[in-house]
Symmetry: C2
Subunit: 405 residues, 2 copies
């Protein structure tokens, strides 16, 4: 008789955003007096920019003509896109990443989860607390989490790295050795961005201990301080210890289009095996490449018009983030994030727990946020607000929150 994956079954019932959606839907169906303002899920709302739209329409037309039709593309992604990424995202910043080290995919969520397949089931994984749930779920499904304890909300084999006000909402290098470290900067959900010194400590730690850093930089486009690194590969030594995940989702509004990439440097080896070769083998067996249309759209992000247009969308969200951050601070909440990230991380008032404050905001102010505890026990007492809505929503949310508080 077929046995099920016991680890997959251990995952707690509801994925965070599904539970948020369920509660919101209950309130929405009851007919709230004011329209709900949705600052919960980190999904973009600005339309695709004209350069991307034109490029994708051209790509669709190409596929509609016999002379220009294309079927399966290279599993690793088309060279035209990998070259544009290498040049503009890395070489322009002094990071010597070349196109052969770039693996295009349908999304950073897929890659952040699938990368675990390169490693054995016995390794120790360190994650931030609070943390983007995908890392935890993917490692737990593969058995690297051990058992889930509903009381603490943690997995007994994961190493949790607290991201608190004391640590600047970023993880500190652990005392104990671990095998894999899931890092995210600018951080989801805390909105904190690591500086060079912080990342250098991680790179040194990894090179000393043999750990591999799994670095998610999906929000790098929101960095405003030119001194902050956008890629782990701007840090000396990272090429022997780090894998980086990047995405067009938040940068160019591709959440519904689906295109992302992963960088595995040639020098990154374990047990004498280049991890890039292992990843290429995994992808060739399990993935059939990202959509050609999406890849042409992504390429257009790197044209002069595309860059300028995308910059405008990001600036729009950055203004929202500043509005939310400043408004919440003025209303008396302790806030962080929102300066180099599209997320504001705010302390609940009076030591209220996350879900209680979430429900209060939802029912009394008609504002949807994400309860911090949904990102792990370290998020208890916090909420996350997303800057991905409209400027009007951001302003109104601040008004309603101020009135409530």
């Amino acid at each position: 008789m077929t046995k099920l994956n016991e680890h997959l079954q251990k995952l707690p019932g509801n994925y965070l955003f599904s539970e948020v959606a369920r509660r919101v839907s209950a309130v929405a169906q009851a007919g709230p007096e004011r329209p709900l303002l949705r600052l919960g899920i980190g999904d973009v709302t600005r339309p695709l920019v004209p350069a991307v739209v034109e490029a994708m329409k051209r790509a669709v037309e190409e596929l509609g003509r016999e002379e220009t039709f294309r079927g399966y593309g290279p599993e690793q992604g088309y060279p035209f896109l990998r070259e544009a990424i290498a040049r503009q995202e890395y070489q322009a910043r002094g990071a010597a990443v070349d196109p052969e080290e770039i693996y295009v995919s349908d999304g950073a969520k897929s890659d952040c989860g699938s990368i675990g397949e390169l490693f054995g089931g016995g390794g120790r994984v360190a994650v931030c607390d609070p943390v983007y749930p995908v890392y935890v779920d993917a490692h737990a499904m593969a058995g690297r989490g051990g058992d889930f304890c509903p009381r603490t909300g943690t997995w007994d084999r994961l190493v949790y790295l607290p991201c608190t006000v004391e640590t600047g909402f970023l993880p500190q290098v652990p005392e104990e050795p671990v095998d894999l470290v899931c890092l995210c900067s600018p951080n989801n959900p805390t909105g904190a961005a690591a500086d060079r010194e912080t990342l250098k400590r991680w790179v040194d730690y990894a090179n000393e201990t043999g750990a591999v850093l799994l670095f998610d930089a999906a929000y790098e486009a929101f960095i405003t301080d030119p001194a902050l690194p956008h890629s782990i590969f701007e840090i000396q030594g990272a090429r022997t210890c780090a894998i980086e995940f990047r995405s067009f989702s938040k940068t160019a509004g591709f959440t519904g289009v689906r295109c992302a990439w992963t960088v595995i440097p040639r020098e990154l080896e374990r047990e004498g095996v280049p991890l890039g070769r292992l990843w290429a083998r995994r992808q060739a067996a399990r993935f059939n490449g990202a959509s050609y249309i999406a890849q042409r759209g992504a390429e257009a992000v790197y044209t002069p018009e595309g860059r300028a247009q995308v910059r405008e969308s990001i600036a729009y969200y950055q203004r929202n983030a500043r509005t939310i951050r400043a408004g919440l601070a003025a209303a008396g909440l302790a806030v962080s994030g929102g300066e180099h990230a599209p997320y504001v991380w705010a302390r609940t008032p009076g030591g209220m727990d996350s879900w209680t404050f979430f429900d209060e905001l939802l029912r009394k102010a008609g504002v949807v946020v994400t309860p911090g505890v949904g990102f792990g026990p370290g998020g208890e007492g916090y909420i996350r607000l997303s800057a991905f809505g409209s400027a009007e929503e951001a302003a109104q949310a601040v008004e309603r929150l101020t009135a409530l508080l």
Copy 2:
């Protein structure tokens, strides 16, 4: 120190189609006297049909306007597409599949591989021999293959189901109990299509033993005999034992667009757990939905114009398949397939091994095929020819082959 996934490392060096590509590239670069005719990889060549092109252009435009922009879609796929699939692919054939049982994805290759994550590492997996390599690689990567023996070309924990001339090039129900069975009909690579009685035997076997059938029907659109089933869910009893994989790749030319779906019936449970719920949880944690553009394109396949146009493309390939099959038979080769599938499966002349005949065809006739042994030891002594090229290529390939033989 990080340990690697020992099972992933056991995969033999080259993925079949990469090795074919390498040999072809060597000959192509040497400058062959006649242009190479590519009947190797099963990739489509007809352009997307106008209904799909128009729908995708509209979708791109929608994403470019603020009022109609969409970000993340439902992980399971948009209802508009799931409803069209349920109605036209299943209910129209008397199979009671409803939209809630349909999970849209970026490709059947992804799903055929990822489905294994629902099951434990200890299960016994049965695969056809010869077999589409993705099933074997995905289960082997997850540790269900055991060890690979280079001498026999087989994995020691997999159960191989011979598909030979004696079995009609389709697998027979095994004597021993297994937990998972990878079936594919119309079959890749043999081109044989299972009739109702054959599938009924599998369904009964699975319901008796508790095995789960993983049924890949990516080529169902090529069936010409109206008596043959297109879905496992046309068979009584399948809802308690089968998962079906389907794709727009070969049906509507979506190999570069990326859209597919998986059906998990509500009644399919193991250990009291509905497998659909487990898959939904897996997808929510590891996947962010298929591209909205691709889903709108797929929906257009079900409009009256879309259906008619897609039918024409399939008919084109079907004519090629008949040309190849008839031509090879006339030249004296023992052939099968090509009647309900885009693949013709042919015996090599004089007991030659697959790669030798592959190299001969490549170098002396300039015809690229796929060596049967690349699909497993049971494919030794065969080649696979794909009907996905142009009518001219199919005719010329037959001419050159006839001349060579």
